[in-house]
Structure formats: C-alpha cells, structure tokens
C-alpha cells in the first residue's frame, strides 16, 4: 500500500490544473461543531507561481476511463496512479483545517468504473465531514458529468460550490482532443443545479427552515491556447454561461503543455499564454463589474485582445468621442470607463467632489493610475486643449511610459507557441 505522502503528492499534482481555488460566497455558519465559511474567502498561502492556496485541492483518484489529450490523468498517459480512501481524505481535511492551513476541501476525481460510482464515493466523503466530523467549513465539489440527478441533488445539500469544466471553449475544439466528451454533458448538470438553486431559494421565501443548496453557486473552467479558438469565441461562450446558468465564475486556464504525443496541442517546453489569460480575466471583469457589453470589447471586427495594453484602454483608444470625461460632473458609470481608474477610486471621486471641485494633485493621491488616466479625463486644473490628441499618439505615449519590459518579453515568449 502506498504511503499517504505519496498519494498526496500524486493526487495534488494531478488536481492543480483546476485553477479555481475560490472559497468565497458562502455564508455557512458554525452550528455546534467546527468551522464556518468566510463570505469574502481567505487565501491561506500562495505558491511560487503566485496562485492562491485556499483549499486542499485533490483528486479522489487519478485512475480514469477517459483519454482526453489535454489532461494529465488521461488513460494512455504513463503516470503513477493512486487513490485515497474516504477516511484518508476526511483525516487530511480535518487536520489541515484545524491547523488553519486551509479554508476547506476542493474534491475532484478521475472517473473510475462509471460516473455514478465515482460521484457516490465523493458524496460519502462530503457526508462524513458534515455529519460525523460536524465540519462547517467550505467544500467545493466537482460534479461528475453523467452522474444521476439524485446524486447531484443530494450532494448540493452538503457542499458550498459545485463546478464542471467545459475544458475547451468550443465543441469543435473539444472533439479534436477529447472525442469521448461533449459540451452537452456539461450544460445539462449545470442547468439542473441552477434550477435546483432557484427552487430552493423560492422555497426559502415561504419556509424559513429550507436547507441551503450550493450557497456559493457554480463555476466552470476553459483551457486557453490548447486549441485555436480566438478571444471573441472564448468570451462569447463565457458570456453565454454567465447569462444562462448564472455562474459565479468562469475560469480561464492558460494551457500548460503536458503531452507530446498529440501533435494538435502545444508541445512540452512552449510557454503557457499567461498574458493572454490575464487579458481574458480583465475582459471578464469589465463585463461583470464595469458595465461593458461584450460587443464593445470584442466583436467580429476585433476578435483578438491586444496583448500590449489592457482591454479597457484598448476600448478607450477606439472610442475617442467618449472622452475626455470630466470627473467633477460625470456619472459614476462614465468615470469607471476611464483607463486607470477602478471602481474604488471612482467611488472616492464621486464622494469627494461633493466638497468642492477636484484638482490633479488630489486625483493623483487617491491612487488612480494618473499617467494612463490623464489622457482621458478632465478636472478643475486641466489645461484647455485645442482639439484632441490622436489616439495613436496616446497609445505609444502610454506604452513608452509604462515599464513594459517584462511584458514585452512575456509576449515574445508566448508567440513561439504558434
């Protein structure tokens, strides 16, 4: 039998490509046992790649009946296999949690035998934690595509978040590298859980003691850069999923080459598309928190995000007629569209201007990226400008000002992919 250390090594390593580590959004309270959920989530540490470690993220097993080319646990891959017992996962989770190492458990699994068998085993872990250990901390459970609705519904009563990964942004991409899978088997359970969430919420309005059902909602993940989808296609899919399934998050995961046998995929040694991934997240944020519509940022004329500059700046340069925005009179929703000004600073500006017109030195102190924002805003002491500067000029001025040395390097690093 393998030692627990070796199992942890194998099954944490296999789980790490799932980027979600969020522990936020749940309000589970400690009722007479141990643990609770922190609404804002807590990152207990960060790995050297700069990613947050919030949950004990492991696979129950990396044995899998599927052979998806992009997955490290694919059947044909020659890796060491391992499987935790139910007791081992519970023991690890409780002991890490009590030492304040983690916010909770993120449990995923390779598919062994069939979907229901796997889901049933995962459910046993979750139930043991909640019922026997009286554990009220965070649990993120992967829904196994193809598992029965009874099992999924049962799991929803014990966990905080559920997720299923789309894997590749489009059906065509998925068929290239994972012919056994399809998007339908992801959409169906996402829709089912969403319906259940809604009906539990409705019921709660009538009956106060209705149990909570997946209180932190659902999420999904797409692998970026493994197959040739463009940014417009990717964000269209994300936008649809946010709207149709009320997802809390869509994660974009730059593909890290792990397979040299499939010539369709980037080969081992090529750098993951980190800048592109970052630009996709920025777009995601603009859609969810900044009131942008997708077609303002990406559309059939602009199908790729600019890697040198962020998508908000890119939009601003294409829409000079929107600027300059006068921060002393403009609406909050117009101020957050100024490149270099975020929601927090915009809120400060809107409060502060009630006490008198704002000057440049005040804006600079408030923490906005003034060097970027100055081309797009107006305040009390902005000198009168005759005509508008050309946006081409603004773009090059901003690029030369920001020390984009690192970024340039990263961009060339990524270009070798294609």
């Amino acid at each position: 039998m393998q030692r627990i250390e070796e199992k942890l090594k194998i099954l944490a390593d296999a789980a790490k490509y799932d980027v979600s580590c969020s522990s936020s959004g749940s309000t589970r309270k400690n009722n007479g046992g141990i643990g609770d959920a922190s609404t804002s989530g807590i990152c207990h540490t960060y790995t050297e790649d700069g990613r947050c470690v919030s949950l004990l993220k492991i696979l129950l097993t990396n044995h899998c009946i599927y052979d998806c080319a992009f997955c490290v646990s694919r059947k044909s891959n020659d890796v060491k296999r391992a499987a935790f017992t139910v007791e081992e996962v519970v023991d690890l989770t409780m002991n890490f949690y009590r030492r304040n190492y983690i916010e909770g458990l993120f449990l995923s699994s390779g598919i062994f035998k069939d979907a229901d068998f796997t889901m049933e085993r995962m459910l046993r872990i979750v139930k043991k934690l909640r019922q026997e250990e009286r554990y009220n901390g965070y649990i993120h459970l992967k829904t196994i595509p193809g598992a029965s609705e009874e099992l999924i519904k049962d799991a929803g009563l014990y966990v905080d978040r559920m997720s299923i990964n789309l894997e590749l942004p489009t059906e065509a991409g998925l068929k290239l590298v994972a012919p056994e899978k399809d998007h339908e088997s992801v959409k169906k359970p996402l829709a089912f859980v969403n319906e259940q969430m809604e009906s539990f919420k409705e019921e709660k309005k009538l009956i106060k003691h209705t149990p909570v059902f997946v209180p932190a909602g659902q999420s999904t993940q797409m692998v970026i850069g493994a197959t040739p989808e463009n940014d417009f296609e990717i964000m269209q899919v994300a936008d649809d999923f946010y709207k149709n399934y009320k997802l809390k998050r869509v994660y974009y995961s730059g593909y890290i080459p792990i397979n040299n046998e499939n010539s369709l995929l980037p080969q081992i040694g090529s750098a993951p598309p980190l800048v592109r991934e970052n630009r996709l997240y920025q777009t995601d944020w603009l859609l969810r928190f900044y009131g942008f519509r997708l077609d303002e940022i990406l559309n059939p004329q602009h199908m790729h995000l600019d890697l040198d500059i962020d998508p908000k700046l890119s939009w601003a340069l294409r829409n000079p007629h929107f600027f300059p925005v006068d921060v002393n009179t403009a609406d909050f929703n117009a101020i957050i569209r100024i490149p270099g000004i975020g929601r927090q600073s915009a809120l400060k500006i809107v409060h502060a201007r009630k006490f008198g017109g704002l000057y440049t030195y005040q804006l600079q102190k408030m923490g906005i990226a003034y060097n970027r924002a100055k081309y797009f805003l107006q305040c009390v002491d902005t000198p009168f400008r005759l005509g508008n500067p050309s946006m081409e000029h603004v773009r090059s001025a901003i690029l030369s000002e920001s020390n984009s040395g690192n970024r340039r390097q990263a961009v060339t690093g990524q270009l070798t992919l294609f």
Binding site: L8, K16, N30, S38, D49, Y101, H351, M366
Partner: protein, 253 residues
C-alpha cells in the same frame, strides 16, 4: 500643542474630551514614551478617564453610527502616529458638525485615514490567513505571530466562532500578549519570558501531539505539489506572501 496619553484607546478618547473641555485646538496626540518628539514644545499630560472616553465614544456613535465609530478604534490599532493625528482631526470635525467629513477624500487627513484603515484591514485579513496552529500533546492548538499592527483584538471573534470546539492560543511576539480560548471564552494572556522561550522552541519545551509533525510534513508536501513550475512568478509570490511572514509559516520555514 502635544497631548501625552497612556497609549490606550480610552486614553486617546480622553484626549478628545479634554481638547473640547479646554477649548484647545491644533492638538497632536502622542504616547508618553514618544515624549522626545515633543521635547521643546508645549505639552499636556492627559489622564485616561473611562467615563469621559465613553462619552466621546457614545457621541461618535450617535453622530456617525456604530459601524463607522468602530473605524476609529481600528485605525488606532495601527499604532501609527500620523494616523492618530488624522483620526483626532476627523473626530474633532465630526463633533464640530461635519458628520460627513469621512467622504471628503480630497482632504489630506481624510485620505490618509482611509488608507491606514485599509492597511489595518489587510493585516487583519492576513492574520486570518497566515496563522498556523501546532497541536501540543495536551490538545492545545497554539500559534505565534508578529503582525505589523496590533490586530489581535480584531480577529478574536473570527477564531472563536470558527474553532469553537478546540482550545487555542494566538500569541503576538512583538506586543507580548496573546488570546487564549478555553472552548468557552477568549481571554487575554501574557506569558513570562521563559514561557515565550519555550514557545519559540516547542520541540524542547512543549510536548507536541504525536501526529503534528506528520501533518506539517504533509502540508509542505501539498504546498510543493500544487505549485505549477511552468508558471513560476516569484515577484507575484512575494507580493502576496512578504518575507517577514515566512518565519511562522510552516510551508515557508
């Protein structure tokens, strides 16, 4: 004029009370130990008076609400003299009828106050994240910390609610006091220098739970395995986990 007080929050509030009673303005609040800063200036020593302090506290709550009144306590825990000054200025303005002054971010004091509040809240959050308990053989979970600000009072509730079924101790090595939870309530404790010495070398002094070392090892294993080498980004890593916290982090030791 400098007001010298005992360094407690009640002392700070007493200063506010005195400045209004004596009709003295342009006050700079300092601790008695900071006296050398004010060596050649006019100073007044303010005696902490709980009754006066509570009147100020009540008055603040009535004017800005309980939640916002709490902000002055949080900012005070920064132990930052400039923040105390900004706080003092804002409190005085509130009592002079400007209850909405906290939104005037164009004002230097107000902006500084909001920035320090953010820093304190970040440090509080970091302590919730970075505290690492070890388990001793008698079942006590203990942790040592050295937070930038005096944030223990701000995390007490969080740990009491979360770890309600186990006894724990969180000890601030810098400020030499700790929070002890006996599974019923949280109390403040001070350890003798010998006891602190013991705690820094638990392997000698405190008998550890037999499985504690195993879980520390497993945690390190997990931390290494979950890292993606191809995405290495030490700049970002250090931004999130600054070196000064490594000393007490199992995975970074």
């Amino acid at each position: 004029m400098y007001y010298l007080f005992d360094g407690t929050y009640l002392g700070f509030l007493s200063c506010v009370f005195e400045s209004f009673e004596r009709k003295e303005s342009n006050i700079i609040p300092l601790m008695q130990e900071d006296y050398q800063i004010a060596l050649f200036s006019e100073t007044r020593t303010i005696v902490t008076d709980n009754r006066k302090a509570l009147r100020v506290q009540k008055g603040l709550q009535a004017r800005v609400g309980k939640v916002e009144a709490m902000d002055f306590y949080r900012a005070f825990l920064s132990e930052d003299r400039k923040a105390w000054l900004a706080s003092f200025f804002i409190v005085c303005q509130i009592f002079s009828g400007r209850a909405d002054i906290r939104q005037d971010y164009g004002d230097e004091h107000v902006l500084y106050f909001s920035q320090i509040l953010k820093k304190v809240s970040r440090e509080r959050h970091r302590m919730k994240a970075f505290i690492r308990f070890s388990k001793s053989s008698d079942g006590l979970f203990f942790a040592l910390v050295e937070p930038d600000f005096n944030v223990l009072p701000l995390i007490s509730d969080f740990f009491r609610k979360r770890y309600a079924d186990m006894p724990w101790l969180i000890y601030d090595m810098k400020r030499k006091y700790g929070l002890l939870f006996d599974t019923r309530q949280v109390g403040e404790v001070q350890l003798s220098p010998e006891e602190v010495q013991d705690a820094t070398m638990p392997s000698i002094a405190i008998e550890m739970d037999e499985r504690d070392e195993l879980f520390q090892r497993l945690w390190k294993q997990y931390y290494t395995s979950t890292n993606i080498e191809a995405r290495k980004n030490m700049k970002l890593h250090l931004q999130h986990v600054p070196r000064r916290y490594w000393k007490y982090l199992v995975e970074k030791k």
